[in-house]
Subunit: 212 residues, 2 copies
C-alpha cells in the first residue's frame, strides 16, 4: 500500500478515528458508505478495512461486514497486565545495556514532564508520559518488542487514560514515580525498578477506573 495511495489515505483516516474513539466500539463500517463519505471507490475502502483487519482494529462479523473492535472493562485490566509484562521485560534488558547518554535521554523526558506540568501544558505532559514509557521499550534494543508494543496500541490507550488525570496530584505523583524508575535504572537495580513500575501502573489503572 503506497503511502500516496487513496487506500492509504482511507486507512490512516479510519485508523485515527478508531484509536481516538470517534468511531464507537462495535459499530459497523459499510464499504460504500465510507467510499462516498471520503469520495473514493469501494476498492480503496475495502483495502483499508482489510489492513485494519490484519492489525486487529476491526473484526469481521460472522455473517459478513466489518465492525469496530470493542473495548470492555476486562480489556483495561488485560492491557495493564500486558503493559507491565512488556515494560518489565524491557527494563531487564535496559538495565543490562543502557549507556550514560541514554540515561540522560530519559532524564530529559522527566524534566520536560516537570516543566510542562509547571507551565500548565497538561496535554504536553501526557505526551511526555507516553514518551517515557515508549523510550524504555526503545532502549531495550529489541526491535520486535518495539513492534509489539506499538502495534498493541498501548501508547494510544495510555494517552487516552491521560485524559483521566485531572488533579495536579496525579501529575506530581507520576513525575515522582518516573524519577524513581529512572533512579533504579541508574543504580542497575532491576528488582527495585520492577517494584516501582508495578506500583506506577497499578495506580494508573485505579485512576482510570475511577473516572469510568
Amino acid at each position: 500500500m503506497k503511502p500516496s495511495s487513496l487506500s492509504h489515505k482511507v486507512y490512516l483516516e479510519l485508523r485515527k478515528k478508531i484509536l481516538s474513539n470517534q468511531l464507537v466500539s462495535g459499530m459497523r463500517l459499510k464499504e460504500d458508505e465510507w467510499a462516498q463519505k471520503m469520495d473514493v471507490s469501494r476498492t480503496a475502502v475495502r483495502e483499508a478495512l482489510t489492513r485494519l483487519l490484519g492489525e486487529d482494529l476491526v473484526e469481521f462479523g460472522k455473517r459478513g461486514g466489518y465492525f469496530i473492535k470493542s473495548m470492555t472493562v476486562e480489556d483495561v485490566k488485560e492491557i495493564r497486565e500486558i503493559r507491565e509484562i512488556l515494560e518489565t521485560g524491557a527494563l531487564r534488558l535496559v538495565i543490562e545495556r543502557i549507556s550514560d547518554e541514554e540515561i540522560a535521554e530519559l532524564e530529559t523526558i522527566c524534566n520536560d514532564f516537570t516543566s510542562m506540568v509547571e507551565g500548565g501544558y497538561l496535554g504536553g505532559a501526557c505526551e511526555a508520559d507516553v514518551k517515557f514509557h515508549e523510550t524504555i521499550i526503545e532502549l531495550s534494543g529489541n526491535e520486535k518488542l518495539k513492534d509489539i508494543y506499538l502495534h498493541s496500541n498501548i501508547p494510544l490507550f495510555h494517552l487516552k487514560l491521560g485524559q483521566s488525570m485531572t488533579h495536579m496530584d496525579d501529575y506530581e505523583l507520576t513525575d515522582k514515580e518516573h524519577r524513581e524508575i529512572l533512579d533504579s535504572i541508574k543504580k542497575r537495580d532491576f528488582n527495585l525498578a520492577e517494584r516501582t513500575l508495578h506500583k506506577h501502573l497499578i495506580r494508573g489503572e485505579l485512576t482510570a477506573l475511577d473516572i469510568s
Copy 2:
C-alpha cells in the same frame, strides 16, 4: 474477509507458505503472478497481501510491490527474548490463578510428550512442546496476551526450531525441563519457575543456533 471467500483462501495459502519458509525472505510477490498461479483475480491476491501487510508478514517496498519479510540472525535472538518476556509474564499470572484441573492439563501434555518421544513420534513431540508453552500463555487468562503470543508467530518459529532437535538427548532434556517448570508452578514458586524457564529457553536458542 469471509472464510469462504477466495481472498481468504489466498490469504491462508500465502500465510502458510511464508511461515513454513516455502517462500524465501525478501522475495517479491507479484499480484498477477499469484492470481494466475491460484486461478483467482488480482483483487483477491491484493486483498490477501493487504491483510498480511497488516499482520506484518509482508512489507511494502519503498518503490512499490509486496515482499516477504526477512528473518535475520538478530531476529532469532530477539524472538527468544520476547518469548521469555511473554512466557515469564504469563507464569506470574498463572501461578496466582491456576486450578488443580489446569495443573492436570499441563501434566497431561508432559505425559503426551514423554510417550511420543518413547514411541519415536518426534513430530508429535514437537507439537506437544509448542502446546506446553501455548497452554501456559492460555492459562494466564489474559486474552490479549494470547493474541500477542499467537500473532507474533512465536509458535511457528518454535515449531521450526523443533526441527533442530535431532538428538534423543534434546528431547529428554526438554521433557525434564518442562516437568521442572510444572513442579515450580505446583509449588507456586514464581522465582524458581522463572529461572527454570530462562534456562530452558537459552538452551533452545543455543540448539537452534548450532544447526544454522
